[in-house]
Symmetry: C2
Subunit: 246 residues, 2 copies
Amino acid sequence: MEEINNIEVVPCTESDYLKPFRVHYNQNGTKKSWDFMRTHDSVSVLIFNTTSHCFVLVKQFRPAVYMCEWEKSKTQPAQSAEQTEEGSAEAAAPASESQEGQSASEGDSSSKWPPASAGVTYELCAGIVDKPDLSLEEIARQEVLEECGYDVPAAKLKRITSYRSGVGVTGAKQTMFYAEVSDDNCVSAGGGEPKEGELIEVVKVPLHEAMTFAYDERIPKTMGVIFSFIWFHNNMSPKYKISTNV
Amino acid sequence: MEEINNIEVVPCTESDYLKPFRVHYNQNGTKKSWDFMRTHDSVSVLIFNTTSHCFVLVKQFRPAVYMCEWEKSKTQPAQSAEQTEEGSAEAAAPASESQEGQSASEGDSSSKWPPASAGVTYELCAGIVDKPDLSLEEIARQEVLEECGYDVPAAKLKRITSYRSGVGVTGAKQTMFYAEVSDDNCVSAGGGEPKEGELIEVVKVPLHEAMTFAYDERIPKTMGVIFSFIWFHNNMSPKYKISTNV
């Protein structure tokens, strides 16, 4: 799917996106401190196309996921020389690992980098809550339009629930919505905002394959995909028949 | 529940826990870069006590969640002077906000800090995968023992599924297990490892309240709690009756 190459990893001393802070506090009289990161709340949307009876997901290359897989590949027996830091992986920095010209695209078996597919995940359409003037529904509506190309009124978004994500590091609140769309609502191909560097593939998962998809661990995905498919199964099955072979 | 006070937030220039890196790469010929953090994979465990027909969760104060709520409280109308940075929250650093002597415990309405309960979340028993010699099941078993006080053989842990978490920043893999325990397996009160600074309260959610609990947004929780309760509902309901009032 993707061609990823010229990969270079460097320590990040100053980031516009990752800003670690430390909070010192007393808990029940005991002095403690905790390192955390500021982040935005977010919304995600389970999109169901009633024309094709498909769920609409997004698929994209995630550098953070890819780097996880790269890290694991280093500790495999074939690279035993790099196993020494295993067990203290938090401190095991890649420092400055450069593989200029190396390719991580599919089929390049000579590379020490995993194939690009190792960093690709299936996710719900989602976005951060960074527009204080807009409701969560409005922000979700914009993401559905930008990422997946469906124009649906905010009022048609049904709130599923909310929860905390990354409680150890960010602790942001995520709110999940459900949107029913039809082919008539499709106004563009979606794919995200190129000017924001988004390169998103819109993929459809047929309803009858959804539960198998949800529990197939060979398909890399977020918990939101699994949870929302099961939510649909439990709550929308009177309306739409869904296979229950899991 | 908790008394939290003497809260001080400082920028974190060097952390043993949060280590930002930057990866430069070419995607389909376009130069890109992405800031990410290294982290461990993790396991989580849905624990069901067959004696009391309760789910066993952990409840703890999460500084990252608390700081999210603190951040939001700053942008509320009552503190309008601090609204100026709204809209660029990623860059809106708390810098050095010190409230020495201030209390965030319940009932202290004079504090600008939210009540401690704003940072408390319900979660599945969970832990990071940082012992390369142990299987995921063994690591999950240890967490069940340390956090919740139940001694169950690793072989009794049933794998539910796995997925990616924090795909934007960490991308680590989480694997979820299901453990059936009985009061006979209870060998300690749990509560985590005090030497690691863990202060964990073990809480039970009766089976018949589980679905209401899962979808009650006033109860702060992780998606893992919601998903696993519903997984149980769908997959264990032939074995244990569960209320389906949601």
